[in-house]
Point group: D3
Chain length 129, copies 6
């Protein structure tokens, strides 16, 4: 584990932390952002991207968080699975909804490998959509 | 590529094909199912699971299809990405919604690896949810 | 696609090709080895490792080939899935055995993600084995 | 970590637990099943699939468990690697057999990436099997 | 495959295409960017990130491209492996250097799975760096 | 966790340990090698491969270690990420260089999935390199 930037964070890092806390209306930043602070350009870039991509758009933020959970569980990223499961719950995901997110992700992981193993060509109907 | 079971499909395989066509109101089964027919117990089991897991529940079927697309793109499964993108479009996914599904999946794949690389501990706040 | 080393292969590459053909009692090497020939140290090292690891040992060669198929389908490597499915068939794998290999691989891919998503601690009983 | 369903498990969950304990002749269920109990349809579906897929068939149960270990190590699923390594040992896997399972899985992971990186076409001979 | 935005690309898309062509001193954009144009915010965001991250910094651009090739081959992304191998060659990567990039990536993929399979604890010495 | 081979290591294992310690000029071997010792042929084979592949060649050892870190973070291998980050630091990787390694790896993981999701054909220009 890396040392956390703390009181002595640079003004550049401080500015991103402040924007995170104001945007999310919280009074601390979580460990992910403290780790990113080891490389300030990454900290700033990732925060801007998260702020933009996870905002309400054609999809609502809860759907986006559930997609994030499904991808993180697929990749086996423990930190991201924990943090985005918590974020999705905070946005209204129930136990039953989580159950369905993971059941779909599990099924997709299964059929992805069956498709890889049996190697069928893509149907013409799908190629033209 | 494997040979397709066709006219001479066994009654067991035929029964699953018929259920797929009736349930989806289509007059053919796509190549995935024809490949699964090489192992009838898998054909039957996967179809039952797809039918149950992808049905309306706490999440609506379009959200489920979009999660399927995100996982399939994460795993790099070409067939499944094509087939579930087509299925999601058929259920109402617009070009803009697809854009957001893939932007979230791409961001998750990125932060999953930043989390792996910088190795931060899971925040206590997340462990208790 | 890379150009194939052919008639003009170096003596170093030729020697590996010859050993592959003699060991496997075939009169050509497949495209994987021709591609490896772009970096002769890799060609030689991989062939030595394949020859040793895939030889009869505590596990028989067919079981080893089926494990290779399961891993290759999991990773979505098209070339390796094709070549090791062919190799396993040549060693006696039936259609039904392939069906079971892929059903187990598919199930493992599924439960791996359920375990990642629900994040349960490893049971003490497993830690002590 | 999620809270475990315990004494107060629903009759639906209890029934699956009982079937697991009777089938496996054990007096407790491991943490994986307790976590699945957060979504009873998944608990029931996964248990039915495990019971069917991992039963003796064209492949014997030990071979199936070793394939499970190879896939779980490939995916980096810690829980599944521990639990299926324990299960394989219980079915007779020796230290040497585990060594060979992992040596094959490691080699497959290596050649999968060499194939991806050098991008050779699939040999005609493999396409026709 | 998706239709390409062409003559009729929006001014927003045109502006990114122009910046790509000016920055790289080429007279066309490759298929990746044309596909991204289906979701203009993603096109713009990804291009900005590529321009920043792949620029000379503490690492030189060739090293960055070789890391890109290693990751793309690991993930099995055919398009990215082709495009970044070409980009690395354009920056000076020789056949022998590519051979070493892929030999290291292959070895890492192998030992990653051996580490997952044998499950050793991280040495204290590594935790404190 | 497996028991470590210690004082009572076999002569075969001892010989590899000694070669590791002499080659690296250290007085202990790390946990990875102790775990490999459960299967001596793997211990010996992996050590020979590491010694050869990671040696100075067309690429310098620091570049090789940084590629190793990028691949290990992509695969989510905690042990390998820790050990190769430490090894890269020992060879001169600064905090800023690590920041760039992970920024490139993160970007590659992101665009790999965008390429998978939007499914564009490989440009002719790339196929001919």
């Amino acid at each position: 584990m890396r040392k956390e930037p703390g009181e002595d964070a640079s003004p550049e890092v401080r500015a991103v932390y402040d924007d995170i806390m104001v945007t999310r209306q919280v009074d601390r930043v979580n460990n992910f952002w403290k780790a990113m602070a080891h490389h300030p350009p990454t900290l700033r870039q990732v925060w801007e991207e998260v702020k933009t991509v996870m905002a309400p758009g054609a999809l609502d933020p809860l759907v986006k968080e559930m997609i994030y959970v499904a991808v993180s569980a697929t990749n086996g990223c423990e930190y991201c699975t924990y943090s985005h499961t918590a974020a999705a719950r905070a946005k209204g995901m129930t136990e039953e909804m989580l159950g369905e997110v993971l059941a779909v992700a599990a099924l997709a992981n299964k059929t992805n490998r069956l498709a890889n193993g049996y190697r069928m060509p893509v149907d013409d109907a799908f190629l033209n959509t």
